[in-house]
Symmetry: C2
Subunit: 220 residues, 2 copies
DNA sequence: TCCTATTGTGCAGTAACTGCACTTATGACA
DNA sequence: TGTCATAAGTGCAGTTACTGCACAATAGGA
């Protein structure tokens, strides 16, 4: 297993992107059929017509082949608006987070299949959510900027002047809470997608601002 | 390696708890010395005077040997008070979560060493925090109970009668936010412990209520 | 003293992943 | 058209975490 010497003699060799997609497709399809734990890397390799070594040249881990290369990013323009806004903090912060399509011509079938495969397996879904750990630092800084700005503007009439260190702490706490909110959004989206209660292209955070608003009023 | 045939001929065989602790101690010590990734299970086994098979009889994974058996639990009495309270929701919810010492006579040195070892490695710390996924369901229900009770009491004078489903959703969102808060608490605690800015036995959530209060006022 | 549950071991196997040396197709350029 | 550097892929051998199964040794009560 895992050697690809026996392949349709024709058309060896494709460019890197093609191979990557072929592996992703094989992975997603197999996982949809058998479940994540029942699928081995070797099975994916055979289905994709690729050696195991090649698999690991394209993906760091088995997970990665399933989750795809898309990583969360921050919308720079939105970030600038966010910093000077006085609107609802968490809801606006969620709006900052975008999924950056690394290689844009995304295959829509692969995309939706992947969602089905990933959302079926809670552990995978969680790992997907953990990916935004990559931008947590950035988020924290942007939130800190907003807090500092509001403090400088004296927007908090209470006048309880807070030290920069306190604002840093608050920014960190808010960032972690935001991570929680994102996890909620992701899970809810997966749940609704699975039951078909949601159109395929629907925004993952529809109605979120409203819910957040009500919840926050109950936290005090 | 990983066979324990060559052991101080005397005193084979101890009771399970002893062996477990021996393995934990070896694991923590080695990780403190060399870092998590540099330590193999075989190394731990040799240091603990135990075969690899025995290691995996006592711990499901390498992580588990480091993190120890303590799992988060909910304080039942506190939960009942929580449901009928009108105080700050998140702060009080944090108070529900206790670490249940499975085998009580905890070795204090092992305990503090473990904290140093785990908090040095962010990924481990994260995995530790993930453990409260085990009680997330329970938390969500308790929070839902509180929300329902307040709704029934008409405590939200606004009179915007919310459906049970809406309350469920809100409870879920709050649970995820709470998970974020807990992660913050854990990380902060680890950070302060590491720099020695905190007495060894200090409560992990000192000053949290205050910070939470200020932060929540800024979320609106 | 014998018997049995507890504790521990050896061994063989699977699966994810890595480093290294090597081949082969591709496309650019003389 | 030939040649040549490079991108893409492969084979192989090794490491590490983890599992199932059958078996060995011992503690501790009957």
């Amino acid at each position: 297993m895992s050697t690809a010497s026996d392949r349709p003699a024709a058309s060896r060799r494709r460019n890197a992107a093609e191979t990557t997609v072929a592996i992703e497709r094989a992975a997603v399809e197999l996982v949809l059929q058998h479940g994540f734990d029942q699928v081995t890397v070797d099975m994916i390799c055979e289905a994709a017509g690729v050696s195991q070594r090649t698999f690991f040249n394209h993906f760091k881990t088995k997970d990665a082949a399933l989750l795809g290369p898309e990583l969360p990013t921050i919308d720079e323009r939105a970030a600038r608006e966010f910093i000077v806004s006085d609107g609802p903090l968490l809801a606006e912060a969620v709006g900052l987070i975008r999924v950056a399509p690394e290689h844009l011509p995304v295959d829509p079938k692969l995309f939706s299949d992947r969602i089905r495969a990933v959302s079926a397996h809670p552990a995978l879904l969680l790992r997907q959510m953990e990916r935004l750990g990559a931008i947590e630092g950035e988020l924290r800084e942007i939130i800190a900027l907003r807090l500092r700005r509001r403090a400088a503007d004296g927007a908090d009439a209470a006048g309880s002047a807070e030290s920069p260190e306190e604002l840093e702490e608050q920014a960190e706490l808010i960032t972690h809470m935001l991570a929680g909110v994102m996890r909620y959004v992701g899970m809810r989206w997966a749940r609704l997608s699975a039951t078909g209660a949601l159109p395929p292209g629907a925004a993952p955070d529809a109605g979120l601002a409203e819910t957040l608003d009500r919840v926050i009023r109950k936290l005090g």
